[in-house]
C-alpha cells in the first residue's frame, strides 16, 4: 500500500478539522474539531513510524505524547467552557468579544 494514501487521509481529516474550527460557533464543537486535527497528526506519525520501522518507534512515542497533550487540552478547555456557561448561560464563541478593542 502506498504511503501517500495514509498521508492524504490525514490531510483530509485535518482539513475537515480546519473547516469545523472556522465554521462552528458552539465552543465544545470547536474543541471537537481540534481533536480531529490532532488525530490527523497522529495518523501521520503512525504511518511514518510504520514506514521507518528499523529506526525504532519515535512516531508511536510522539503519538502517545499527543494523546496526553489532548487530554490536558480538553481538561482545561472544558473547565473554561463550564465557567463561561456559568457566567453567560451560553457557550457561543461569537459572543466572547468582551476583550476585543
Amino acid at each position: 500500500m502506498p504511503l501517500s494514501y495514509v498521508l492524504v487521509l490525514a490531510a483530509l481529516l485535518f482539513s475537515i478539522g480546519v473547516y469545523g474550527v472556522l465554521a462552528r460557533q458552539h465552543a465544545v464543537l470547536v474543541l471537537l474539531s481540534i481533536e480531529l486535527m490532532l488525530n490527523a497528526v497522529n495518523i501521520n506519525l503512525i504511518a511514518f513510524s510504520a514506514w521507518l520501522q528499523d529506526t525504532g518507534v519515535p512516531g508511536q512515542v510522539f503519538a502517545l505524547f499527543i494523546i496526553a497533550v489532548a487530554a490536558a487540552e480538553v481538561g482545561v478547555g472544558l473547565a473554561l467552557v463550564i465557567l463561561i456557561y456559568r457566567n453567560r448561560r451560553n457557550v457561543d464563541v461569537e459572543g466572547l468579544s468582551l476583550m476585543k478593542w
Binding site: M1, S4, S15, V28, L29, L32, A50, P58, A63, A79
Partner: protein, 188 residues
C-alpha cells in the same frame, strides 16, 4: 498480512473516518457530533493497528474514546445540551471556511503525494514495534519529553480545578453578590 487485505481494510476504515469526520463538523446536534467523533477515533485506532501500532491504538481507545470524549459529553450535559432539539451551531462564515479547508487540503495533499510518490508501506512487521519497545523508547531516549508531558498534565489538572471550581472567594460574581448583600444590610 497480505497486501490486498491491508489495502482493502484501509479503504474501509478511511471511509468510516471521512464520513464520520464530516458528521462531526456538520451535525446539528452537539451530542451527535461527539458520537461521530467517537466513530472517527475508533476508525483511526483501526488504522494504527494496520500500521502495527497496537499499543497506540488501544491507548487511543482508552484515553480518547474512554475518557476525553466522555468528558466532552459530560461538559455538554452540564451546559444543558438540548435533548432532541436541533439547533443551528454554525456561524455565517461557512462558505469561506469551506474554501479555506479545501485550499488547505489541496495544498497539503499535493505536496504529500509529490514528495512521497512510490514509497510503499511494509505489509508486515519488519522490526520490533511492540509495547515493550515503545516502553523502552519512552523511558530511555524520550524520558525528558515524557517528564515534560507529565508536568504539563499536572499543570492542566491544577488549572482545570482552579478554573472550574465554584470557589466563594475567587470569582468576581460572588464579590458582587457580597457587595449587594452588604448594601442591603446597610439599607435596612
Amino acid at each position: 498480512m497480505e497486501a490486498a487485505w491491508q489495502e482493502g481494510l484501509f479503504f474501509v476504515f478511511a471511509t468510516v473516518i471521512t464520513v464520520s469526520a464530516i458528521g462531526v463538523v456538520t451535525a446539528r446536534n452537539v451530542i451527535h457530533a461527539a458520537l461521530f467523533l467517537v466513530a472517527t477515533l475508533i476508525g483511526a485506532a483501526c488504522i494504527y493497528i494496520l500500521m502495527f501500532a497496537e499499543f497506540v491504538a488501544w491507548a487511543q481507545v482508552l484515553v480518547y474514546v474512554g475518557a476525553i470524549v466522555v468528558l466532552m459529553l459530560f461538559g455538554l450535559m452540564l451546559t444543558r445540551a438540548p435533548i432532541g432539539k436541533y439547533g443551528e451551531y454554525d456561524n455565517d462564515q461557512k462558505g469561506l471556511a469551506a474554501i479555506v479547508a479545501a485550499a488547505v487540503f489541496g495544498v497539503t495533499a499535493w505536496v504529500l503525494i509529490d514528495s512521497f510518490e512510490g514509497v510503499e508501506l511494509p505489509t508486515d512487521r519488519v522490526a520490533a514495534t511492540t509495547s515493550k519497545d515503545v516502553g523502552e523508547a519512552i523511558f530511555s531516549s524520550y524520558v525528558l519529553p515524557f517528564e515534560l508531558v507529565s508536568v504539563l498534565l499536572l499543570a492542566a489538572l491544577v488549572g482545570a480545578v482552579v478554573i472550574a471550581r465554584r470557589d466563594e472567594r475567587v470569582t468576581s460574581r460572588t464579590i458582587d453578590a457580597a457587595r449587594r448583600e452588604k448594601a442591603r444590610e446597610e439599607d435596612v
